[in-house]
Amino acid sequence: MNKDFIFSTESNPTNFSSVKDLAIGVLFGAEFAPQIASNLYALGIAKTIGRSNFFLRYSPGFFKEFSLQKNQSIVGNDSSDISLKTDLKYQEYFSAGYSYKISEKLSGGFTLNYFNEEFSQDAIGAVFSDSSLTLIRENETETMKLWKVQVGTDYLFTPSLRLSISASNFLNMKNGSLSETNKAFELRTPKNLRIAIYSEPYPQVEMNFLYETKKAVQVCVGKTFSFDKSSFSLDANYFSDFSLTGIQPSATFRYGNICASLSGVLYFSKIQRTASLTDLTSSGISNLVNNKYSSNKAMINLSYLINTSQEKLVQFVDVVVPTSLFPTFTERFVDEPFAVARVVNLSDKPVSVKPSSKIDKINSELIYSPNVVVQPKDTASIPFYTIVSEQYFSSRHEISFANFYVTSENREADDEVQKPLLINSSNAWDGEVSNLRYFVKKDFDFSAATAKGLLAKHKIEFDTVTASLLNFLQAKILFAEIITGMLYIADPLASNDRVQFPHETIDVKGGDCDDLSVCLASFYESIGIETAFVDYKTNEQSRHVHLLFNTNLSPAEAGLITQNDKKYYIRKNSLGEEKIWIPLETTERSNFANAWEKGVEKFSNEALDQLGLAKGTVQIIEIY
C-alpha cells in the first residue's frame, strides 16, 4: 500500500495509511501524445504521529489544458493577421489528507484537493486617442478556486479484509465567479459515494474492488513476491466509467526503505486528440489525469520510507522459563535452551528472527541465540540460550529477571518480555547426578595444582612402580592424601540441594557422598584419570553416589592389583579397548583399600547382583 501513497487522494480518499512514520515520494510521468512529454507529476509526503496520519502533495503535473482557435482575427497595422483564441486551464496545485485511527479496526479521514480553473478568452478591443485608432487583442481571464472535499471511513474486518466507504463533493468550497460562457467549462464535481473492498484472499495476493455511484468501477489484482530484504509485486487495475475504460498495470520493487514503481495507463477507449466544444461544454471533465482526452502514459514512482518508529514484524506469544537457574551448570546452557518462546510473525513476508536475552546479575551483555525464520502469519518456537561465566560465583540464592528480545530487520527489537527468575547459589544442585560433573570441572585449576603438589611428594614410589600401575598408584595416593581423614558432613540444607566445590571440601575437610565424590573425581580428572559417578537410585528418599575410576589396566593386567575378579569392573574405552575400572566408596574415609572394598561390595550387590544396571536403578555416569 505504501507504493502508491503519493496517489493517496485519488485512490484513497479516506487517507487510510500504512505509513508507519514518514514517507516521501516523487512521481514522474510521460504522456504519449503526438509529442511525447515527460514532467514531474507530484511530490508527496506522509507522516504518522500517534494515531493521526497527515498527507501533503504538491502536484505540478496534474493539469489539463484546452485551446480553441477562434474564427476571428484582427488585421494589424502591418497587415498581419492576429488570431483570437480561448484557453482553458485546469490545475490541481496540491492536496492534503488527514486520518485518525479510532481503534485497531476503525479509522476515519478526509482529503482536500485544491484546484485552480483559469479560462481566458481573447476579445477585440480598440484604443482610441486623438491621433490614432488601434485594434488590440484583449484578454479576459476568469478564475475559479475549488476545494474538493472527500470524507470517509475504513473498517478492518481482518488484517486481510478492509472496507472503505467515502463520499465526495458534498462539502466542496468555491471562490470566484464565472460568466455564463465560462460556467460551461467548469470542472464537474458530481456528488459521489464510493465503496471499496481491499482483500488479500491468499497470502501475498491482493484483490480490490471499487464501485462509485457516479457509475465507475475498478478491479485490481496483484501478487507480491517476497525475498530476504526485498519484495517485488505485479498489479493490474482495470477501470471504467462506461465512457472511459482502461487498464493500469504496474510493477513495484521494494528494497529496504526504498520503493520504486513503474506503471502505465493504457486506455481501451479511443483517445480523442481534439475535443469537441459541444462535448466539453455539455459533459465537461471531472478528473485531470484520467479523462477522455488523456493519452496513454507511463509513470515512475519513487518512494522513500523513513521508519524512525519501526514496524513491529514479530511479537512474543509466551515465554516458558525454568523456575530457577543453576549457575554452575555452565556448559549445559550452551547445549540446552534455558527458555523457549513462542513468537508470531505479524507481517506478510517470512521474517528471520534474531533472539537474544540478558539475565540480570548473570549477563553483562545480550546473549544471541541462533536465528529462526518464521513464515508469514505463522507461530514458531524459538529457543533461548545463555552463557554463564566461569568466574561467576554466588553463595546465596537471588531473585533476578530475564529479559527476552526478538529482533527482525529493524535496528531495535520488535518485542521484548521480562520474566522473573530465581538464580540459585553456585553450590546449588538439582539432584541429578549427571550434573555433578559441573562441580567437578569448576575447580580444575585448583585440583590440578593441588594434586600435582601432593603426588610430587611420592616421586620415589612412581619411579619404582610398573608404568601400567601409574593410574592406580596415583589414585591410591590421592585418596590417601585427600579423603583419608576427612569427616562426613551432611548438607546444611536439604541433602540434594548443595554440593561443595573441591576446594571447599578441602577447606572444610569433609562433606557428604556427593561432595567427596566430586572432590576426588576433580583431583583424578585433573591428572588424567578417567572417572564416572555411580548413581544409586534404589531409594527415593536418599540417593547415593560413589566413584568409579579407570586404572587404565587391561583385563590381562588385573592380577597386578588384585586376584579377585569381583573387585573390578571391565569397561570399554572410546577405542574399544577393555580397561579395568575400580569402584570407590568415598564415604569410607579410612583408607583406599576399604573404600575400594566398600565400593565393590555396594556395586556388586546393587548394580550387578540385583541387576540395578539392567533395571536402571543404578546408573554409571561419565564425567566426560
Partner: protein
Amino acid sequence: MQNVKQINYSMKKYFRHSILLLLTAYFFGCGKPGPTELVNDIPNDEAPLQIEVLAKNPDDALYKGAYDSTGLLNQMPQAETFLFISKNVVSEKFLSIEYNVAQVLFFDRDKPFHLPDGKDFGFLMKRVIPPKINSVRTKEVNHSIQHGRGPSVKDTVLGPKYMLSRTGNFGDSLFLTYNTQVKFEFRKEMMSPPIEFTVKMPEQIIGKVTVTQNSNGEKILLLEWNKGTNDSVEIIIGGKIKNEKTATAFFKLHVNDNGQVKISPKLMKAIPKDRFDRLVFSFVRKAITRRVEQSLEFFTVIQNTHSIIIDYP
C-alpha cells in the same frame, strides 16, 4: 554516545536520499503536454470575423471626409483604372434615402502622389474621353481630398474623375437595379474601338442594428442582415462627429454572409461617446473584379450598401 552516532548517520543517509530524489525531480521534470485542441462545432456560436482599422488617425481630415456613406474610401486600388458603382440606402430612425453613384478614375502611373507626411497615397488622375455607364455619358469633376488636422487641413485636387450620381428622384440618369447588369463603355481615343463590358449589381442587402446585453450585463450590438449568396459581406463601423455632417470610418469587418454578427462591448466602448454622438453601420455586399481590356487594367467594384445611423447606445 553510540546511539547518537547511529542516529546522525541515519539522518545523513536519509538526507542524501532525499536530495537525490529532489534532484532527479528537477532534472527529469521538463516538457509538459500541450493543450488539447478544441474544435468549435457549436452552430451559430461565433461568426467568422476579420476586423481592420480604417481610420488610423481619426482626427485627420483624410479620414473624416473619406467616409461619405458611399463606402468609397480614399485607399485607391493598385490598378490603372478604377470603376466604382454603388447603390446605397441610408437609414436614420424612420427615414431612408436612396442614392446611386458611379465614378471612374484613371490613374497616371507616372505621377505618384504623396501626403505631406511622406506616405504614398496613390496617383494623380488623368483626363480621358468620358466613359459611359448604362449608355449615359459621365461628367468630369475634380477629385479632391482633404488631409491634415485642425487649422492645417488642406484640400488637394488629384485630377479629374468621371461620375454620375442620383439622390432620390434628383440628379443624373443613373438608375441601378439589384441583380441586373450595368454596362460600361469607354474609348481611349476618338477613333479607337470601344471598350465594353458589363458588371452585375449584387443582390440587395438590408441591415438591422439591435442593442442587447450579454450575460455580464454589458451592452452588445447585434448586427443582422439578409443572408445572401456571397461568401462574405463587409460592415463598416463609423462615427458621426458632433456638430459635423461628415462621418469617420473606424473599422471594417469581413464576415461570412450568414446574416449575423455580434460586436463586442470592448470594441464599442473604445469609441469615445463624448466625440461621436451617433454611430454608422454600413452593410456592404459587393462584387470585385479585375480585367484587362485593350491593354488597360480595370479594377471594378460594384456594390450595394445599407447604412444605418443610430444614436450612441
